[in-house]
């Protein structure tokens, strides 16, 4: 059978199947809420080096002002040479991604506090004077990070697990700290390296891959609808102790004290406007998939043709992709399988194939540069890889 025959057959099948697909509305309309619900309900459990942040409303309001101002400008990225130079001069090249949702949500008799702020820092090297292939080191950037203090504020207990909760699948928002120390009052102080709202799977179906890392075969996956009462939901090592969380895990609400948060966010917001968002979406032995997104504004004298090529033909970008391994070695790969995201110009996925197997754990940076468009030759991104 060849695909032509299959394609021809697909064109002959009954109209009702096409109608059903085109008019389908998912049952779960509040997925975003569920996501936050998941984070609020589950994430507050303190794991090894992992704490979820819940901020008070006044702080949320301040951040919201900044975010709203930032989000009101939809065109962030301008990659002209001039602005590239501006970026290069930026002394503290951090990328930050903040999501927040305020309020309380009642679901199945459980009240979830969703006044959480999830902050994702991605550390970029100062690219000034840096040449492709140069060894990079994150160490110097530590000093540029603000110190955050996280303090436990209250503790609640769930009376019932959400139906969609699955062990090792409902990953939660969390913060990875660097050099964290426990203070006398029980709070934790350290540099925030990474805080993120994890994706999660409400329906576990076998070979789920999370963050590019395949779940070890030793973990048993729980089928939808299976009773999880009494099962171990999470395991962790904290302060030298081993914990197993079973049914009725605690929810710990935390308070974060930020000393220089506002100024820091404003500075980072400036930097955000100068580069794209790039994330690793998948990784197998010999391929790495990147999802790249960005929006563009153009100088007034930019021709329509160039604008179209950039906004509609982003797949032609980034011809040169280099992987910098943690040991400093450089691996290059051939681009393949680039896919533009339908109805979302400016977002595409690109895969790189490598001759030799690569291990995401060993990857330090992904470096992309080189475009087929003269106006955008200046794009030069260093993407940190944080395998989880």
């Amino acid at each position: 059978m060849n695909h032509k025959k299959f394609s021809e057959a697909m064109n002959l099948i009954d109209d009702r199947f096409y109608e059903e697909a085109n008019n389908y509305t998912p049952r779960r309309q509040n997925r975003a809420w569920v996501k936050w619900c998941a984070a609020a309900a589950c994430a507050a459990v303190v794991f090894s080096g992992t704490v979820v942040l819940a901020a008070n409303l006044s702080f949320v309001d301040k951040i919201a002002d900044i975010l709203l101002n930032r989000n009101s400008d939809k065109e962030h990225v301008v990659a002209t040479t001039e602005q590239k130079e501006l970026y290069a001069q930026y002394s503290n090249p951090l990328d930050i991604d903040v999501e927040l949702e305020c309020g309380r949500l009642h679901l199945d008799g459980i009240c979830y506090d969703t006044t959480n702020i999830f902050i994702s820092y991605r550390l970029y090297p100062n690219i000034e004077g840096l040449q492709p292939g140069d060894p990079v080191n994150r160490q110097p950037l530590r000093d540029q990070l603000p110190k955050y203090r996280v303090k436990r504020e209250a503790e609640e207990w769930l009376t019932k697990l959400p139906d969609w909760y699955r062990p090792n699948e409902c990953w939660m928002g969390g913060t990875d700290f660097l050099d964290s120390t426990v203070q006398e009052d029980g709070s934790l102080e350290g540099y925030i390296l990474y805080t993120a709202n994890w994706t999660y799977s409400p329906i576990v179906q076998g070979d789920v891959i999370q963050c590019g890392i395949e779940i070890p075969p030793t973990l048993r996956l729980i089928e939808e609808g299976e009773d999880t009462t009494g099962l171990i939901l999470q395991q962790s090592h904290t302060d030298g102790k081993y914990y197993e969380y079973t049914y009725n895990p605690p929810v710990i609400l935390c308070e974060i004290t930020l000393d220089q948060e506002i100024r820091q966010l404003e500075l980072v917001t400036d930097a955000l406007e100068l580069h794209e968002t790039v994330e690793v979406t998948d990784c197998s032995l010999t391929s790495l998939s990147l999802r790249l997104s960005g929006s563009y504004s153009f100088p007034e004298d930019t021709s329509d043709s160039v604008q179209n090529r950039v906004t509609n033909g982003l797949s032609s970008l980034f011809n040169h992709i280099t992987i910098v391994m943690k040991d400093g070695s450089i691996v290059t790969g051939d681009s393949s399988g680039r896919t533009n995201m339908a109805d979302n110009a400016g977002v595409f996925q690109q895969s790189i194939l490598f001759e030799q197997p690569i291990n995401l754990d060993d990857v330090e940076w992904v470096h992309v540069d080189g475009t087929g468009i003269p106006e955008f030759e200046g794009i030069d991104l260093w993407i940190p890889v944080h395998p989880e």
Binding site: M1, N2, H3, K4, K5, F6, S7, E8, A9, M10, N11, L12, I13, D14, D15, R16, F17, Y18, E19, E20, A21, N22, N23, Y24, P26, R27, R28, Q29, R31, T199, S201, I203, Q205, G206, D207, V208, I209, Q210, T281, N312, S315, G337, R338, T339, N340, M341, A342, D343, N344, Q349
Partner: protein, 187 residues
């Protein structure tokens, strides 16, 4: 407010060019998306959608489609596939290409067996297979292999994660393989 399908069809029967405009208002983005998924080129998609409108104009009347949306989708898909196969410069990185590669890898079979089933029979078998799926999986299958949508687009449409869509499609393809094998159609 878009016009209802029956009124648009009536405009076609009255040979009013307003019918094309209404068709574009109501289903323009759907058709563009469908065509773009196959061709991977917005310019080609634009032309194909216009050709599809023209084809509908030529065929309605006498045809009176029961579902204007599905009819238009099929016409658009046909026109786009024709362009795809005849356009030697077509990029091979469209969603359609990838979707068909998935199918081909799974269902490759000797020519002798292949010849035993024509497209109409295969369509009936696929319909039977689709009937067995739950609604969500059926929609995912149709969006992928009927509308050539990307995993990300499907995930957005059905409210699942991209990875979940990927996993489900893998299973659906395997189920289809088993289904066809049971009927001694392929492999």
């Amino acid at each position: 407010m878009p016009m209802d399908d029956e009124t648009i069809i009536q405009l076609f029967f009255e040979r009013s060019e307003q019918a094309i405009r209404e068709l574009d208002i109501k289903y323009g983005s759907l058709c563009h998306s469908l065509s773009y998924n196959i061709l991977g080129s917005r310019e080609d998609a634009e032309e194909c959608v216009n050709d599809a409108y023209q084809a509908v104009w030529s065929s309605v009347p006498p045809t009176r489609p029961l579902s204007l949306q599905a009819y238009l989708c099929k016409v658009t898909r046909n026109v786009s596939l024709t362009r795809y196969h005849h356009n030697s410069a077509a990029k091979r990185n469209s969603s359609y290409t990838v979707a068909m590669q998935e199918i081909e890898e799974l269902l490759s079979a000797p020519e002798t067996v292949e010849a035993a089933v024509d497209a109409r029979e295969l369509a009936e078998l696929i319909e039977g297979f689709l009937e067995q799926l739950n609604r969500e999986n059926r929609v995912i299958f149709m969006l992928r292999y009927g509308c050539s949508e990307s995993y990300a687009a499907i995930a957005k449409r059905v409210g699942l994660s991209r990875k979940n869509v990927s996993v489900r499609l893998t299973r659906i393809r395997q189920q289809m393989k088993d289904y066809l094998k049971e009927r001694e159609v392929f492999i």
